[in-house]
Symmetry: C2
Subunit: 402 residues, 2 copies
């Protein structure tokens, strides 16, 4: 997100009720349900139309569409344990549960004025939304979207902090960061109506995004208000915050940053993490045993997503304006850029198939999703999708930290 | 497997045709198909009855059963990309394709006299079976089980070698070991009717099992005829065999080995691999950057499966006779046994749910599958299953090397 955009997020919020308003009229008509496996399905966000395109990664084709999802200009998706239901968190504060088999909305709540994403518990029973307006998190029954808890993230002055960087942890716990309070919170929702919150204060100024390492051990928050990153080792019996990569950020002479990189797009491949440098045409290489920088790779623009193929042998990078027609491929054993492709205009997101044989790439301004063979870089399919942004495959149901 | 059992495997083979005999009469009656997700389903092998118990890991319950699968005294399972079809490789050389939604057999071929497992390509189009009698591999269309190629693994003397340690690699390639020829083969099946085989000879005597690391990079074969392990770095442009862990094996004064440990059950957690010691009451710790042993952990018996919870924070161990009523839990940060449980008699297999919150354990002689919370070790469910052995969840569809 742009610095300016982030700081003015509260400005355009409409007077929506901050409670949960159930929407009773699904906007999309039900389609005949299919008896089919769900292991190879996924959804593509149509950010302009507020719709989902439903896709099959075996046939590399579109099999359906669901409309009526509201403002999806920033949206994220998690899946139920059975890989049948997609939960869509929209910018407008709506959480929508979509049945990707019957292709209809089953539940929808307007739960906040402005929201930035959500998560699902490992046991599949709880959905948590992280909110900007009003700040805090809300906890829902995953089957019904009934509100179970409202955790306001109140600060000393009584105001609520905006919440970012939400991720699921084992045992119905969740971790998130407070943008306005400079804190990291761990919520224990083992009794979801009685949340137990542990707050780690003084982590640094304005955490703007965060990630959990694939094994669920390290939670790392990027700081908007200063350089460096805040890290928590969640396997410690009493987790504390450490500061890592003191130079990570904009530095003393801030560079123009066209889009703050997504931390969620960090790649951890083998013992190294690959990070988008802020404002620079570089990908940083970090040793995950020491969390020290061990190298840099020059790339074609300001990196946004830096994503590892599931086997970690390749890292794929997309870029902010004006270089967002390109995608580069880094070979991790040699730590070199080995390929540059131009999939289309305005590449916004990439998603690998679960075993990494293909990558799906959203090209918003061409209204295309392009599918490439990751080994040969052959174009395998080109699908017409209206202004595609995020791509989410059901395999996410089976991974932590999403 | 016992040494004696392995070496006499060819003795009891019946006079089945070595070709592919299609079986046209599914032994199980079709059940009404359900519209449901398949992300949380799985199968349990009933080794005595030659049947599958179908299970749901969200409700922790049994939802169906499929019979007529032949000799499942040693069986393994892979899943289709869509997580709807299970392919069962039986000891009797049969490959059976089961629809876990409609709960019936869709295809079944008797493709060998004695078989020890199989694999599926990342793109989901090819099934490969590894065979003892006659030796070699066979390649099938995953949708129809039509035979596409028969690769005999012929040796210099014209005989066929038994094949073990089969695993899938990217790009429709497969890797396997030749027990009788002391070789590792890589089959390129990009044109499945014209297999291209690369053979790496002189890897050591009698490879009896093998594994691929979770990232698909390292293939490691255990040797029955000598100490040490054969390893191939599959990311090299021209893969070669290196010998690692020279002391791994039975040593100069062979210990009584009640059951050869499954290499497939190695745990790789973080930078360490945890291996069952052969014949000893120990789990070995190996650094995966050097492949040198860096420690040993004393355990309650001869380990069989040493399996990492998906997050790598725990390693679970089961044992051979006479200690196979116990299961131990190793905490990987401290590298210590932290729990010992007794789930039932004759623990044969364990399977973690995809995000690791539960583990399912087969207790053959109690006719029970026990489900534990991996964090609290609370028993979450106890399911009646006739002589259960292998447990396989659909999330395997999305991982390499299975």
């Amino acid at each position: 997100m742009k610095r300016r955009a982030l700081l003015s997020l509260t400005a355009g919020v409409s007077a929506l009720a901050s409670g949960c308003a159930a929407v009773s009229s699904p906007a999309s008509a039900p389609s005949p349900a299919a008896v089919q496996g769900t292991g190879d399905l996924g959804v593509v966000i149509e950010r302009a139309a507020g719709a989902l395109t439903l896709v099959n990664t075996s046939s590399r084709s579109i099999y359906g569409r669901v409309t009526g999802l509201g403002d999806l200009s920033h949206a994220s998706v998690v899946f139920s344990r059975d890989a049948r239901f997609a939960y869509i968190f929209g910018r407008d504060g709506a959480v929508t549960r979509v049945d990707i088999l019957t292709q209809r909305i089953t539940h929808r709540v307007l739960q906040a004025g402005n929201s930035i994403g959500g998560a699902i518990s490992a046991d599949g029973t709880l959905i948590v939304a992280q909110n900007y307006t009003p700040g805090g998190i809300k906890v829902f029954d995953a089957a019904t979207l009934e509100l179970l808890a409202d955790v306001p993230a109140a600060m000393a002055d009584g105001k609520r902090s905006r919440v970012v960087g939400l991720a699921d942890l084992p045992q119905r716990r969740f971790v998130y960061s407070l943008f306005d309070a400079g804190a990291i919170c761990i919520a224990d929702l083992s009794d979801p109506r009685k949340p137990q919150i542990t707050t780690l204060p003084d982590i640094g100024k304005q955490p703007y995004d965060a990630l959990v390492s694939p094994n669920g051990r390290h939670y790392i928050a990027g700081l908007f208000g200063e350089d460096g990153l805040a890290m928590v080792d969640l396997w410690q019996s009493e987790p504390r915050v450490a500061r890592i990569l003191a130079d990570y950020g904009r530095g003393e002479k801030p560079l123009p940053v066209y889009k703050m990189p997504h931390l969620r797009g960090w790649a951890i491949a083998g013992r190294h993490a690959y990070l988008p440098a802020v404002g620079r045409h570089e990908v940083l290489i970090v040793d995950t045993s020491t969390w020290a920088e061990v190298g840099r790779i020059a790339v074609a623009g300001q990196p946004v997503f830096v994503m590892a193929r599931p086997d970690g042998r390749q890292v794929w990078v997309n870029f902010s304006v004006p270089d967002y027609h390109r995608v580069q491929v880094i070979d991790t054993p040699s730590q070199q850029v080995v390929q540059t492709i131009e999939p289309g205009r305005a590449v916004l997101h990439m998603e690998f198939t679960p075993r990494g044989e293909s990558v799906w790439i959203s090209c918003r301004d061409d209204n295309r999703v392009q599918v490439y063979d990751t080994h040969t870089l052959t174009l395998q399919a080109s699908l017409a999708v209206d202004a595609p942004s995020g791509i989410f495959f059901t395999a996410r149901a089976q991974r932590m930290g999403f």
